[in-house]
C-alpha cells in the first residue's frame, strides 16, 4: 500500500448535477480505485456516477498567490447585474 498511488474521488449524486469531490483513497490501479471508491463513498446510494483521478495529475492554483491570481476580477463590479441602476417601475430587466 505504501507504493499505491492516491486517487481523488468525485461523485455525481444524481443526473443533472456535477461530480463533486468527496475524498481520496489508495489503490494500485484505476479499476480497483473505482471499486474501492464505490464501497467507501457510495454505500447509501450517494451516487449514480463516479470519477477517480490520480491526485498527482491534478494541477492546482497556489493558495499563497490567491490574491494576485484572482485579482483581475476584483475591480470589475460591472460584471454583476446589481452594478446597474434601473429607473423605478421598469420590470423584467
Amino acid at each position: 500500500m505504501r507504493d499505491w498511488p492516491l486517487w481523488e474521488v468525485f461523485v455525481r449524486s444524481r443526473r443533472g448535477l456535477s461530480h463533486v469531490h468527496v475524498g481520496s483513497l489508495h489503490a494500485p490501479d484505476a479499476e480497483l480505485a473505482l471499486r474501492n471508491a464505490r464501497d467507501v463513498y457510495t454505500r447509501r446510494q450517494e451516487g449514480v456516477s463516479l470519477w477517480v483521478v490520480p491526485s498527482s495529475e491534478i494541477v492546482a492554483s497556489d493558495p499563497g498567490e490567491r490574491e494576485t491570481f484572482f485579482d483581475p476580477a476584483d475591480d470589475k463590479v460591472y460584471r454583476h447585474p446589481t452594478f446597474y441602476s434601473v429607473p423605478e417601475g421598469v420590470e423584467h430587466l
Binding site: 500500500m1 505504501r2 507504493d3 499505491w4 492516491l6 468527496v22 475524498g23 481520496s24 483513497l25 489508495h26 489503490a27 494500485p28 490501479d29 480497483l32 464501497d39 467507501v40 454505500r43 447509501r44 492546482a60 497556489d62 493558495p63 499563497g64 490567491r66 490574491e67
Partner: protein, 310 residues
Amino acid sequence: MPDTDFAGLLAEDGRVEPRDEMPDAYRRTLIRQIAQHAHSEIIGMQPEGNWISRAPSLRRKAILMAKVQDEAGHGLYLYAAAETLGVDRADLLDQLHTGRQKYSSIFNYPTLSWADVGAIGWLVDGAAIVNQVPLCRCSYGPYARAMVRVCKEESFHQRQGFEILHTLSHGSSAQLAMAQDAVDRYWWPSLMMFGPPDDDSPNSAQSMAWGIKRFSNDDLRQRFVDMTVPQAEVLGLTLPDPEIRWNEERGHYDFGAIDFTELGEVIAGNGPCNRDRMAHRVGAHEDGAWVREAATAYEAKRVARMAGAA
C-alpha cells in the same frame, strides 16, 4: 490580506484548507487527533465483529455487518483527511501497530454478550455522536467534511443499538437481565469517552482557540447524560449511578463522580483487551500482505504489457 492569514481565518470562523499556511503545532495536533480518530474506527470494528457470526437473526447479522463496514469506511475517510496534512497513510498504520499512536480506550472493553452490541450502539455510538457533531464545524476543512459524512451514518448505529436493547429489555427476564448487565458495564466507560475533566485537560484550551474543539469535555459529557437518562427510562433499564437525579436549578441531570484512574489504566495499556486488539489488528494487516502484493504485481504486469505493445 486578512482572509488568507491563519489568525484572520480563525477570527472570522473560516475554514483552513490543506495547502494553506498553518502553524506547525496546529498541523501536528490535527494529525494526532485525526489519526487517533481513524485508528479508533478501525479498532472499533473488533468488539462488534466478534458477534457477527452469532447475531441472533439474519436481520441482525445484516445490520451488524453494515455497521462494521461503515466503521471501516469512517476510518478510511479520516485517513484520507489526515493525509491532506502531509502524512503518509502507511506511516499512520505503522504508528498504530507499534503503539506510538492511540485509539479510543472504549474499544479495550470486551463484548461478553449479545446485549453488549446493543449497549455499544446506544451508549458508545451515542457518546461518539455527541463528541463528533461539533467536529463537523472544525476549523480544518477536510476533517470537518469527513465528520459530516461520519455523523450522517452514525445515527443508524445508535438507533440499531437502542432497538437491540429495547427488544431485550421487553423480552424474557433473562434477556432483560442481559441488557441490564451490558448497560451496567458500558455506562461508566462511555462517560470516560469525553476525556478528562476540564480542570485536568491541558490541551483543551489550545484546541478551542484553534477552532478544532468547540465545547469542553465536561459540557459534552453533560449533554450526553441529559439525552441518555430519559432514553434509559424508555428502555426500562437503570443506569448504574445512584446519584443521577434531575437538578431543577441547573436544568441538567446531576451524576456521580467518575473514577478516572480506570481510564488512565486503560490508556496505559492495562485495559481488559488492549493486547488482544493490537494483536488482532497487526495479524490482520500481516495476513493481508499477500493481497496487497498481488494487486501491486497485477498492475505492474499490466503496465509492462502496455509498454510492450506500444
